[in-house]
Symmetry: D2
């Protein structure tokens, strides 16, 4: 987590005080279930909630001081949950000996991690929703803004800027679905003891805690929640990051000097370069390209974490301490930055038109070729006829339409009127409605 | 694709003749739709199917020869689809000029790739089903086979070998669901022209072909099907590969000399080592560990492929030529090898029992601690009392039970009978039914 | 290895017959050393060379048939080296029992792998040399070809196309050095027995074989040569692949329609698109971008291979069977393709000039700002003055020079002559000689 | 950077105040060179040093406050170097307008990054040196401590614990060399202006600054120092991290309950588990396994950063803000943790001996086989004879020696005395001196 790429709401999930809050809730809900099952006194469960609430209030009042207290204990015990329970016990008093009965640290740690990841997923889903809204708004606004479609960076056929944005909108609807699925992956609770056999803790405790926290029950846990779930979660984030880069790259291309069809919004006080004051650089989308790399870099450690030894080893833990905050915080930031870029993007429709026209009608080449074929010219011949004139137009010697009109082979199959009619922009946009209907319903 | 790690059914998907078969079907179905729409003559569509079927028959008779013919043409045109259409045209005759009308190469290539990936996904789903069956069989068989659960490689508490396998079964049910979702991701059809605007091809053609091939329609394609779909597909494969490694690693651990609780099946003629004839090495599961790395290595290129320039560039193509066959073929092989390993795994129940007993009852330490707490000893005191005796037992000086019996602090809270009763294996297995019910229903 | 991205010389390294040739040489040289040490009869060593040479001749005459023979034996023994030795033994006769005395399979396999990787490195070094030659030729040719330098895709200041190429030349001189270092990493020989203690084989055997094969001796091997060496090797290849992508991306940018400053050579018969005959796409460099991803994808498995269990496990082997041929063959192909692209690149100097002039002198903005500062205007004021006029010029309202001339603030510090003198292209190229001298000496 | 995995010295490199210190030094040295060249007044250069030193003193006195001041300015200018120069200017006064003359931000940023990376490399080299010292000490101490060598996790032949450690020592001498090479890669200085042409800054300024900072001059920079250098740097770190994991994994294996040949040092107050007080888990080496994944995860972003657009884009920057501190800080921490683990490792020589003897002499199987071959038995026959008895011994029915003695086929070739002589541990350790000499000289 770097402050400059961090939004407070997501950062709060990963703050120690939030972790301690979730730990307490897990322990307290577990005590409720144990009290209900007659394992611990009902009074104890009540005392635990009461003492715990005081602890949570103290934590809220002075997060730094209390976190430091837990850390100080941990430096002796070298065990985070025991340190936390010791601190918590001071607020609860004698009943604290009933806390964590028959539970193992990972019951708390892994379930807590699930809660954090679901909280993170919820924020990310909200982020994607805002991005979708921005994309939709701009797509509808530019539904009919003509622009050249490019394959291989080379002018191909006309499309509209709205269609471009609709494509990215569709990608992010898929990404939203992936996030929802990823959230399900990691929204599980495990309170099953040191090797997952429930020897010391009744499965009904797990069920109760899961229900209270909005999680499902992990069918088989082995001290830990299996890490294929987390791998799937971070893989989903990596795919989304790649979509972020894809849209960012589109904008970077559109902003380059020779294209200049769109630009990131550039505020008044902003300086583009210390040396070249005229420069307006697509630095936000370049930045997003880099941030995408960061989010993606979590996927390999997450995959490597799946293979734990026997019922668990703790190799995954240190890696997760980095990748979980970094990937969620960075993606949250990136989605919001991208939303703002899309929302405020300056679109130069006249430049789009200018670029579209710059090749003198060459973009209609396929249509001419098709017409020739339909009129009976062989595919090879029509290809050759079109290519011949296209090359001439490309060299800038004349417009493609003028050259076709003058080509006797072509004119054997197409009249002048027929030829001119082929050079119609509406031909390329006639199905934009269909596409928009598919995407936006 | 390496022959030694390749199964024929999966390899067949990636053979050029299968690609050509799919290409033909796409083109022929598209012609049907165009004929229905009055764009090309119905006779032509019929002739295309007839000529094409002859081509397919020739391809089946002599795959190598016909593939070489297409390759020869491609070496001139440097364009694979044009080369294929030229070869196909010879079987169809004059009507061949109606083939591929208004379509662009990627309409064929990307839709064909979707068909291949769905075929691959279907095989992989079948693979996982067979693995699940093997895991279930062995899990049920060893539901009550006691074994020590290990965290950090250190003996923790007893569990059963069936519970271990049930955990892997649960992981592979998740993997099956991921495969099904991944299949949906890439099961789309795009026939939308050079920049996805349907300028030269009616959207109904796409709908018809999609329906015939069992695909859904890509809402917005931009010459290509967006690559976030493929990234999600290969990410799913990577997660599954990690689960393969996880189970493989478990078996490797169980087979090590000091543990020897299970062994890969070792056939009669097999030689373990050129120098140490007594050795039976877990080479299959070690091999699976390596194959998992190979499958996972597809995920980064697949993520990098998402960012194409504008309406497409072709940078993804070369990477996909490697990773698509390699990842699917290797995972198919790995899943089958793993199934065979699980199915034939030699399980040494007596060694499991021996290892379980080797620490003199130390595995009951948490239970003793818990009982002490419940009897009123403070958590810290009970922890200390148990740790003291546990350390002594660990050093091999006496059994943990004997030591506890002789400990006056402990005896203040627990009678001899109560102590002995705590050392009961059934305590640890009492919820195995619950776990099995969760997993196997 | 995909045939379309494979050159025969590199492929030959990975052919089974080459592996068998190297295996034989290792065994035969080892026999020589053992004979010299009196461990086996000198006659036997002689017979082994003689029989082995017959085997090698047979292998050369009929590689397929003989490889198949070894494979057939391996299907029974499930052990590749034993299968090979059995086949070899038939050519040698009774003396064959002295082959492989005290050696373990990995002695042969790992040393053989070292030989293959050094052979591959030698080819790659040659590839880079040819690429360097092409880059140097074109750099010298275009040393003075003016072009706009771009940061963030935005016009910055003038440079020359030769300087661009010189930068890539410098990158590939670094890459050459990395290859040479990577070659040293893996050019080691290990013949040290099952756990590397030389219990059954004298260290002098290893020394002899190493010397004969041009390898150094592995100081400590543990049945295998340590895999950090191979990780470093594949990491070097990954860095080089990234440099390939960097240059490929530069060319892709230069070829895009709006820029069109350079183009990949486009042969006569070549068809750019099945639908748009005018298109000349940078497909070779796009292809190189994808191939770079493939080469890079070897780095993670190679890093994961470093962690073997104890004295070795065989998890690395299956991964290496893929990545070693794929990464070396693909990089070999990519370097050659890139060399050909650079060598034949069509450079449009007039387009470079046109783009350079397109912003009406804006590229001189920093120089004007600097001159103002030197004349005494504050940095903030000069920045503001330049930015103000630059923005106006950017909007296309007038040339930057004209605007500066009309700006009274600027004219307080700079006379008309002084201003005009600042707009001098030679100002930007005055140190090109220095750069070329640094790079080419 | 996570506090728990961070050492202060390495963290200090990445603190903003260190960055500002380096920035100032670059600017001030550059001013010296410019003054020497007559570009700016000598008095100005002097004033810049004087004012700058005051700024540095203020920064040292109140790092937080002054960093916040720069940040506040940056929030307006959205440009870090301009913000810094504004802050610095307040200390320098009017001469500050001569600071950064003709330079571009990246001249400062990239050269500063080089300085930081070389400082980090120096710390890492020191780390490796301490690890080497610890490994050497323990290797010499256990040079003759017999232990079983294991391939595939299966007992193979005897070796010594010292030889194991010597192997890791050798790996880290290679890693040290890789670090030194990686340091050279990134120890370059670029002060060459917006597109690297030195249009506004004399190359001699770059030479002077480079010399003063102990860097070499970047032959061709393009506003930025080429990122293949940084990719090579992070790749080196990734290889080293893999070596860390390799050794950590060895220790994890040795500590597992069934093996228990070595253990991480376990301090008195430490609690191994909240539930199982007897447990001593190899948590440090498991942690190192996870940290290795984190360090390695930098390599893909670093490789992706190589491909910048034209003379530069800024996509690399955000990724580097994460990976540069994370990879260097984490590796620094990991190397130190590993050193401490090695240094304090508890080695159980008796357990090593016990495990070694547990298979009843099976580890001598290859030696017996070899002796049989040397006495004239065919390789196949001797293999079969040894395997037959080995299998019997493995099943625990009798010791391998006893079985061999009773085997009539074997006894035809080996007398009783000859057989017994083969079962000699010294046979396996006779070349330990050779190995130690190779490694430690």
């Amino acid at each position: 987590m770097l402050p400059r790429y961090t939004r407070p709401q997501m950062a709060a999930i990963w703050a120690p005080e939030n972790r301690f809050r979730i730990w307490f809730e897990i322990e307290a809900h577990a005590c409720d279930a144990m009290a209900e099952l007659g394992i611990i006194p009902k009074d104890a469960a009540k005392a635990i909630w009461e003492g715990g609430k005081k602890a949570m209030a103290a934590l809220k009042d002075d997060p730094k001081g209390n976190v430091e207290k837990v850390d100080t204990i941990e430096r002796v015990t070298k065990h985070d949950v025991i340190a936390f329970l010791t601190w918590l016990g001071e607020f609860i008093g004698p009943s604290s000996r009933f806390v964590h009965q028959g539970m193992t640290s990972s019951d708390v740690l892994d379930t807590s991690f699930s809660v954090q990841l679901t909280e993170a997923a919820d924020i990310l889903i909200g982020d994607v929703d805002r991005l979708l809204a921005a994309l939709k708004k701009r797509a509808l606004q530019h539904k009919d803004t003509l622009t050249i479609g490019r394959s291989h960076g080379i002018h191909a056929e006309p499309t509209t800027f709205g269609v471009k944005l609709a494509g990215h909108y569709a990608a992010f609807t898929r990404n939203r679905a992936r996030l929802v699925a990823a959230r399900v992956e990691i929204a599980t609770c495990a309170i099953s003891g040191p090797v997952g056999t429930f020897a010391n803790v009744d499965p009904r405790v797990e069920e109760h805690v899961a229900k209270k926290l909005g999680l499902s029950v992990e069918p088989v846990s082995t001290q830990v929640i299996p890490r294929d779930r987390h791998a799937a979660f971070f893989a989903a984030l990596a795919v989304i990051a790649s979509s972020v880069e894809n849209l960012a790259t589109e904008i970077r291309h559109l902003q380059r000097t020779e294209v200049r069809e769109a630009e990131e919004f550039f505020s008044e006080g902003q300086k583009g370069s210390s040396s070249m004051p005229h420069k307006r650089n697509p630095v936000l989308t370049e930045n997003l390209t880099g941030l995408a790399r960061v989010v993606r870099s979590a996927v390999i450690p997450a995959l490597e974490n799946v293979t734990l030894w026997h019922e668990r080893d703790i190799s995954h833990s240190s890696a997760e301490r980095y990748i979980a905050p970094d990937a969620t915080v960075t993606l949250d930031f990136a989605l919001n930055r991208l939303t703002s870029v899309v929302d405020q993007l300056v679109v130069y429709g006249d430049r789009m038109k200018g670029n579209l026209d710059s090749l003198g009608g060459l973009v209609f080449s396929q249509r001419v070729m098709l017409a020739l074929t339909q009129k009976g010219m062989s595919r090879d011949d029509s290809y050759a006829a079109v290519q011949r004139n296209a090359m001439e137009a490309w060299r800038g010697n004349a417009s493609f339409l003028a050259l076709c009109r003058a080509d006797t082979d072509i004119r054997q199959f197409l009249s002048d009127d027929e030829l001119v009619a082929l050079f119609d922009m509406g031909y390329h946009t006639k199905h934009v409605d269909t596409i928009f209907k598919r995407v936006f319903g």
